[in-house]
Point group: C2
Chain length 460, copies 2
């Protein structure tokens, strides 16, 4: 499958050729050994031939491919399905996948899906749909194996053999009482390694971790990752088992949330579509608001510069170092804020660590600042003064720039590390407080420091 990316064009060509020569049996044999995710990825380039390819596949594989398609392709396929075909595909899908699909479809398609689902699935869909987006309830599945504490291992294995085919995972089973309260969890491994006449209640694990339907889906996914579980039980407020979240869905959630965080740090509104699937209008809508805010907030730096116009006129060379100073300040701040935002989202740093973080950033920024200042002094003397013959670059001017560098890096790192922690404490999203916003603040601060040192040392 690692060759796939390179072989993609070749595979597509082969498929197109088989279709054009109507060699459908050969095409079917060609597709059969592939993974569903790979076939779905190829479908993105097959356009109107997708329904044809789809009908060649055996039912189970077809359903797996269907789940992996992008939602616009799914919609096209559903529209091309006969009622019988739709029914067959829906029967093969796991409940949580069906819900994912329903959530993305327009109302008329949803109605058609619900009409052709069996009553139990319909109940399940409506159950999951009632949970808010981003809640654990919205990513769970209601298909799991439940056992009773009084069963023997033999009885439990029989029950799994009887009902297991329709369940998303049988690797972990859940033990409930008559009121569906969750009593314990039991891995298939424990079950298999136990004696046939052991009682489930004796071998199940009573110290389990469960999440609630309204818990944030990201924290549930992080919990699955932290504890290395394959699935987590989801209970309602009265500890009744209503579903499970499996590790594959958790990985998808983590990937989506990371993309959102990265987008926010780069001053974009998060989008949940892949890059090439987003329209120009949507991309524009996601990018312009923050650019606008940041552009208008740069008014402050403009005012500061206008205010010191006199000083700049009397020592024009100072202007040429403004981009370097604001660039270095921005980069220093971004380094600190990025490190902290990531540490916050991985749970490595908490609000109670604020002082420790500040103390660390203070020392780091002094080290960085002094290094940069020293290098810059040498560079200004050697390159600007000596190599480029610029007599305006006096040692005193270099001193002003270097002192400003130390001050700017210090401010940038302290602002950069404290704003995200503060945002998290106040209940805002730390990623939104990230780099560009911090750059604007640091820009203004660095100019103030610059002119303060210029007034002090150059007497202007």
């Amino acid at each position: 499958m690692f060759e796939l990316e390179n072989e993609r064009a070749e595979l597509l060509e082969k498929i197109e050729e088989l279709i054009s020569r109507k060699r459908y049996a050969e095409l079917r044999d060609f597709l059969l050994p592939m993974e569903a995710a790979d076939i779905a990825s190829l479908c993105a380039n097959l356009d109107e031939k997708v329904p044809l390819v789809f009908r060649l596949l055996p039912k189970e594989l077809a359903a797996e491919v269907f789940v992996e398609l992008e939602s616009d392709e799914q919609e096209l396929l559903i529209l091309s399905f006969s009622n019988t075909e739709l029914k067959e595909v829906l029967e093969e899908l796991y409940l949580d996948d069906t819900v994912d699909i329903v959530e993305e479809m327009p109302a008329n398609v949803v109605k058609r899906i619900l009409r052709h689902s069996d009553p139990e699935t319909r109940r399940g869909i409506n159950e999951i749909l009632k949970y808010p987006e981003d809640s654990t309830g919205s990513i769970m599945t209601t298909e799991f194996v439940d056992l009773k504490a009084a069963m023997t291992v033999e009885g439990a294995l029989k029950r799994i053999r009887r009902t297991g085919l329709d369940k998303e995972t049988i690797n972990v089973c859940y033990v409930i009482d008559d009121n569906r309260h969750l009593l314990g969890v039991l891995s298939l491994r424990t079950l298999l390694l136990a004696e046939e006449d052991d009682i489930i209640g004796d071998i199940m694990d009573r110290n389990f971790i469960s999440v609630q339907t309204l818990d944030d889906q990201e924290s549930t996914a992080q919990a699955l990752s932290k504890y290395d579980f394959l699935a987590l039980p989801v209970v309602d407020t009265e500890n009744r088992l209503v579903g499970i979240v499996t590790v594959d869905d958790a990985m998808d959630v983590i990937e989506e949330e990371t993309t959102e965080d990265i987008e926010k740090m780069a001053a974009m509104l998060p989008s949940d579509k892949p890059y090439l699937k987003t329209s120009v209008f949507e991309t524009w809508k996601a990018r312009t608001p923050w650019l606008m805010v940041l552009m208008l907030s740069a008014t402050f730096t403009g005012i500061i510069l206008t205010h010191f116009e006199g000083a700049l006129m009397s020592c024009a060379i100072l202007t040429s170092f403004v981009p370097m100073l604001s660039g270095t300040g921005g980069n220093s701040g971004t380094q600190a804020s990025t490190a902290i935002i990531r540490a916050l989202s991985l749970g490595e740093v908490r609000f109670s660590d604020t002082l420790q973080v500040l103390w660390k950033e203070l020392r780091v920024s002094l080290c960085c600042g002094v290094c940069l200042a020293a290098a810059n002094f040498v560079k200004m003397m050697l390159v600007d003064r000596w190599l480029l013959h610029n007599p305006d670059v006096t040692p005193m001017v270099a001193l002003v720039v270097c002192c400003t560098l130390v001050g700017t890096v210090l401010c940038a790192k302290l602002v950069g590390c404290s704003l995200p922690i503060l945002a998290e404490k106040l209940g805002f999203d730390p990623a939104v407080m990230a780099s560009p916003f911090i750059s604007t603040i640091v820009d203004a601060l660095s100019l103030l420091i610059y002119f303060r040192f210029a007034t002090l040392l150059l007497g202007i």
Copy 2:
């Protein structure tokens, strides 16, 4: 467990109290129901009391906690262990966890670990250690269930019951021939739902995906996520099965690699330690090199500004818009580069999509640029000229700034989207070509555009 973050202080207090009152049996009962990962997280604040807490725990839980500790805490614990204790812990560990620990320990501790491991474990450790860092071989485990194609389901289940306790996962089994060539995979689910006298060779899945020991660990982890597998078989160049990679290790790899990408995008050298565990010196070392490169590369913007000193002198108000222009350019470029870098790493965009990406960014940047320019024109007229009574801000100056804005956003987005794709194509890491580097290029370009428009429209 979600309450844990808030209850942390309370739990720690309770533990400290029980220790100080020497109520060890009570402490043991208090810790028993907790998850290993949570106990490990509490240990971070218990310092020299960790060995005491550790000795109270039952062997199996103790080993699980040990795996979850940070490596400096593991080292301290190993140093405090008697030889018997060390042996007991090592016996309970899975092989891949032991290897992770060995990789982090200083030589004398490694020697002690190897001396007290049983010969088979020692062979396994040495086997995995020989694979390069970041390779799939370095994260695999050699403990898995292997079956023969001629076995019956009953025989296979017997083999799993006999050997399964020591294996990291029994959810997926691997079918090999006498020369250890991988023939097929078989989930425990299929095995359990089959008839007792079915032959393994008939029910196993021959269309499996495998990875090689030297494949990049990130692509292996992404494959596990993409195909929703619980484990992937790892083969050598002759298709002989040497190990498996499980989904929990894949999640850790994805998390680490994402952190690395984010760090690189923020101009830091990647580090593999949590934020608070990194020393000031290490943080300084990770942050200074890029700051230095970017600071020195700002020399170009300085030269451009010096070159246009005459123009700036004759129309001083132009200076005050430089930070706004370079800020907006930097932010626009970062938006484009971040979107592309993420899309590249998720496999949504390929080199063959370059033209499509450029065409999209061209349209987006024109829309963004025109919007920003319009807003900026209104702002300069209303705020700068009318509200702040600055007569220098003429409509002509505003026009220069606004034309520059459109040009800058255009350049920034095109540079921002093409550099990462180019870097990937040339075999460099796209994340390293990210925001700060692009900002520097865009800064210089935006100044050139600015002075071009100023010369054209203001005749200076």
